[in-house]
């Protein structure tokens, strides 16, 4: 029997590995292993009041902490029947765009790019290709600046609270941000050029299904109240409250059966999935960006998710610049937070985190204490899809050296930009076999 094992898998967030076993009959086991420690945050939030919940669940993950914090607020507000102002929705969207820029820049330039340019990591790459690394760091910093301006901190935002924001950004802050966005627009253009110039390493080709949040305005990450599954030409729509029918997580002890699958089919989430699912509503700008990268969505190549991230990064920078312009031009209201009166109820919120569809579902009692929390993270859902692609890569490999196959598997895993801190409380752990 031939065994390929990668452990630990470098340049991803968290602790993971890859196991592939082949015997005479072919592939016998393909696994994306997760060794990340267990934190049980679902039980830490139980009994807490609304104001405590979002700061705790944001700690599920640092890289997508704004997505967790805001999805949490959206679920809590839905449970209490609170409607926040359009200005709050706009600023929350801006915060998520900042996070997306930060997260995609980190992943593309620091974690994935070394693979394309033949370096072991970003530090080594900085010595050989300082311009590219500096470009990535500037874009990452821009994403963080947006998060600091709107959320009060780059990691685990403090300013977004139930009903709105504790403090709105000041004029000088927005003027400063606008100036940074000016450079950001040029940098985003350079990032697109860089991504277009990269080689296309062969990893695997396999069609898949995709899912993303829908029903929101434009290319929204925060808006939306339904999940859309795209399978070939077929689209299925799941209202937020019915998310479990889509995510369909099953826990099976000591096996690798614990997957999110719809009708037994794995589906992919993230930047490429958003472009695929929202294909008919994409703005001319996004279409142009895709064209300049030669990117099509859907795509049988999972590595196209790296390019899709650059499309989104450029779109997000442009959207942020327009939005900050409009805010500076038309002004914003010093509005108080909407009062949040605790009430018994259930709230389900869907958003798009950098890695894809994120669900928070809460039940509160009449005193406004949290009775039950369910969080479904994109990396947990993506695990099944990653394994499906591993399988394709092994099956399509034509007698390459084991090192080459290993490299392909790593490329695939990294292209999904897995975030294992996020995933751990919902997927099986490798030690549970």
């Amino acid at each position: 029997m031939r065994v390929i094992r990668v452990e630990p898998l470098a340049r991803v967030e968290g602790h993971g590995g890859i196991t592939v076993e082949l015997d005479e009959g072919g592939l016998s086991r393909v696994e994306f292993d997760i060794f990340e420690g267990i934190r049980l945050l679902e039980t830490v939030v139980r009994g807490r009041s609304a104001e405590d919940v979002s700061p705790i669940v944001s700690r599920i993950c640092a890289i997508c902490s704004a997505a967790h914090a805001l999805t949490s607020l959206k679920a809590t507000e839905a449970a209490f029947g609170v409607q926040v102002s359009p200005q709050t929705v706009l600023l929350r969207e801006l915060l998520l765009r900042g996070e997306n820029i930060q997260s995609h820049a980190l992943h593309f330039f620091c974690l994935a790019l070394p693979d394309y340019l033949g370096a072991p990591g970003v530090i080594a790459l900085a010595a050989e290709r300082p311009r590219e690394v500096q470009l990535g760091l500037r874009l990452k910093k821009l994403g963080n600046l947006i998060q600091e301006t709107v959320g009060g901190r780059a990691v685990h935002p403090v300013n977004a609270v139930p009903g709105g924001f504790a403090r709105l950004p000041g004029v000088e802050q927005l003027v400063g941000l606008r100036r940074a966005l000016e450079q950001g627009l040029r940098d985003a253009e350079a990032a697109v050029e860089l991504a277009a110039s990269l080689p296309s390493p062969a990893a695997c080709r396999a069609e898949t299904a995709y899912a993303a949040a829908g029903g929101g305005p434009d290319y929204s990450y925060y808006g939306g109240d339904e999940a859309i599954l795209l399978e070939g030409d077929q689209r299925r729509v799941f209202p937020a409250w019915d998310y479990r029918r889509l995510t369909n997580e099953r826990s099976a002890p000591h096996s690798h059966a614990r997957h999110s699958a719809f009708n037994g089919r794995a589906f992919m989430l993230g930047a490429l999935a958003r472009l695929a699912v929202r294909k008919d509503q994409l703005s001319p700008r996004v279409r142009r960006l895709m064209e300049s990268l030669g990117l099509e969505a859907p795509s049988p190549d999972p590595l196209d998710n790296n390019k899709a991230q650059i499309v989104e990064l450029a779109e997000d920078v442009a959207w942020a610049a327009e939005t900050v312009d409009r805010l500076l031009d038309q002004g914003w209201r010093e509005e108080p937070r909407v009062e949040v009166r605790p009430a018994a109820g259930r709230g389900v919120a869907l958003t798009e985190a950098p890695r894809g569809l994120l669900v928070h579902s809460y039940v509160y009692d009449e005193q406004g204490r949290l009775l039950k929390a369910d969080v479904v993270t994109p990396t947990a859902i993506n695990t099944a899809s990653i394994e499906e692609r591993f399988r394709a890569a092994v099956e399509q490999a034509g007698g390459e050296e084991p090192a080459e196959l290993t490299r392909r598997l790593e490329l695939i895993a990294r292209a999904y930009d897995p975030c294992l801190s996020c995933s751990v409380h919902v997927v099986r752990r490798a030690d549970a076999r």
């Binding site: 470098a10 340049r11 967030e13 968290g14 602790h15 060794f35 990340e36 420690g37 267990i38 934190r39 049980l40 945050l41 679902e42 039980t43 830490v44 009994g47 807490r48 405590d52 700061p55 705790i56 700690r59 599920i60 993950c61 640092a62 890289i63 902490s65 980190l106 620091c110 070394p114 072991p120 990591g121 970003v122 530090i123 080594a124 900085a126 690394v133 760091l137 990452k140 910093k141 963080n144 009060g152 780059a154 990691v155 685990h156 403090v158 300013n159 609270v161 504790a166 403090r167 826990s251 099976a252 002890p253 000591h254 790593e410 801190s421 409380h425 099986r428 752990r429 030690d431 549970a432």
Partner: protein, 251 residues
């Protein structure tokens, strides 16, 4: 002095403190030149996973056998071990609940399968190994990390932090949220260094940097109770980041 050999590690946590290091976009290129980054799994796939290190930055709590083994191995190879972030320093959010309920909570989240996992109540690093310096925060503050790195490059450590968040908040002349009486602000009890980031925005301090060594907990609870804030809720809040506040009835 030759460049110190540096390792950056994550145990169980959200990777937020490693992310703060990566968020030092302006300083990162220089830091990479001043140090010799030997082992940083999140950033590189060519790591020296065994050799001696001058400095190890360790994020995350110890939440199982695997973490424990890794931490002991890191300790063995490192001259100076720094706990970065509240999970490493205090246990963090995963240590918010009392350890005795761990098995129940595992079963609740994972079903019966949960009991087979390598999982134990989250513990701070210092319960297992010698820790040479602690940098609390959830996440750590960039300016404190850079100050620490500057000291480490000189071969020493920064002066200990002994001021509460409250002191920094007053110096910033913020409106006191406690005086307003409406909210549990953990500022008087919490290790400072964050420049009162939350109260500065009008958000009460949630104590993410942990309890000050000489925090006057009974006094603070009295103040909270006078404002009509129930003791249990206050204690739960203080315990959120695992800083070892006593359980409900202990005071």
């Amino acid at each position: 002095m030759s460049r110190p050999r540096l390792g950056v590690f994550g145990l169980t946590g959200c990777a937020g403190d490693q992310l703060v290091l990566l968020n030092c976009e302006d300083e990162l290129p220089e830091l990479a030149c001043l140090t010799e980054v030997r082992d940083f799994l999140m950033a590189s796939s060519a790591n020296d996973a065994c050799g001696e290190l001058d400095v190890a930055l360790v994020e995350g709590a110890v939440a199982g056998r695997r973490d424990e083994e890794r931490l002991r191995a890191i300790r063995r190879r490192s001259k100076t071990l720094v706990a970065i972030g509240s999970c490493a320093v205090w246990g963090g959010v995963s240590a918010a609940e009392t350890p005795d309920r761990h098995a129940d909570r595992l079963a609740e989240v994972y079903g019966p399968a949960g009991l087979c996992y390598d999982s134990a109540p989250a513990r701070p690093l210092r319960e297992l190994v010698r820790v040479d310096w602690s940098l609390p925060g959830c996440p750590i503050e960039k300016h404190e990390l850079l100050e620490l790195m500057a000291h480490l490059l000189e071969g020493n450590l920064p002066p200990p932090a002994d001021r509460p968040v409250c002191a920094e908040c007053r110096m910033a002349e913020n409106d006191c949220l406690l005086a307003r009486g409406a909210a549990v602000c953990c500022g008087p009890l919490t290790v400072g260094g964050c420049r009162a980031r939350c109260p500065e925005m009008g958000v009460p301090c949630i104590g993410c940097r942990g309890l000050l060594e000489d925090a006057n907990l009974p006094g603070a609870l009295e103040v909270f109770e006078r404002s009509g804030l129930p003791r249990q809720a206050v204690l739960a809040k203080i315990r959120t980041f695992g800083a070892g506040a006593p359980a409900g009835g202990a005071l």
